[in-house]
């Protein structure tokens, strides 16, 4: 069935290094993708989004890349900080009147001080 999934369950990164979190999706009709960050005891928090008509989008210290040919998403975090430690989810959101979000399984990012 349609799914949004992640390659790695855990990623350990040295503080100050760049982090790359990858995600694969299976629905070629997917139009809108989101990365969420979830810290312990909190709900998912929006980080950055990208529409299917874009290849790249940048935010503050974060960049999302979309490769529609291989149905792959990545989240890059520059100069990773201890506060970036969390679980990261890629997700797909339906459009129009149906706005449900379909989440991947999540990648836990551990920042080593």
């Amino acid at each position: 069935g349609e799914s949004v999934g992640l390659h790695l369950p855990t990623l350990s990164v040295q503080e100050g290094d760049n982090s790359i979190i990858n995600c694969a999706y299976s629905n070629s009709a997917s139009d809108y993708f989101i990365w969420y960050k979830q810290e312990s005891g909190k709900g998912p928090q929006f980080i950055i989004d990208i529409r299917s008509n874009m290849d790249k989008r940048q935010g503050q210290r974060v960049t999302v890349l979309l490769n529609k040919t291989v149905k792959h998403l990545s989240l890059q975090i520059a100069a990773t900080q201890p506060g970036d430690s969390a679980v990261y989810f890629c997700a797909e959101q339906d459009s129009g009147g149906y706005q449900k979000v379909t989440f991947g399984t999540g990648t836990k990012l551990q920042v080593i001080p």
């Binding site: 709900g43 009147g97 706005q99 449900k100 379909t102 399984t105």
Partner: protein
Amino acid sequence: EAGVTQFPSHSVIEKGQTVTLRCDPISGHDNLYWYRRVMGKEIKFLLHFVKESKQDESGMPNNRFLAERTGGTYSTLKVQPAELEDSGVYFCASSLGVEGFYEQYFGPGTRLTVT
């Protein structure tokens, strides 16, 4: 501005009992969503309200789950009777619009443990 709030933060009940979870969306948000994450699985959509109407309830697992949003403000999710497999974290989210893409703001979740 207050975010999405959920009550209780944690609930422990026995199998066969009833539990009611509450969600208060961000003021002015017509859209309200329920999601849940059961152990070891990804976060899954349950249903979507637009004001007081159910727009999409395709994710509701069975008829033991009943969601309401009377008056189009806060929402409740009742599980009756609760089963062991209902244990997990239940998230509520709200968003402003429907057409196009609108960010969904998530609450902290209610952790439900059924013993």
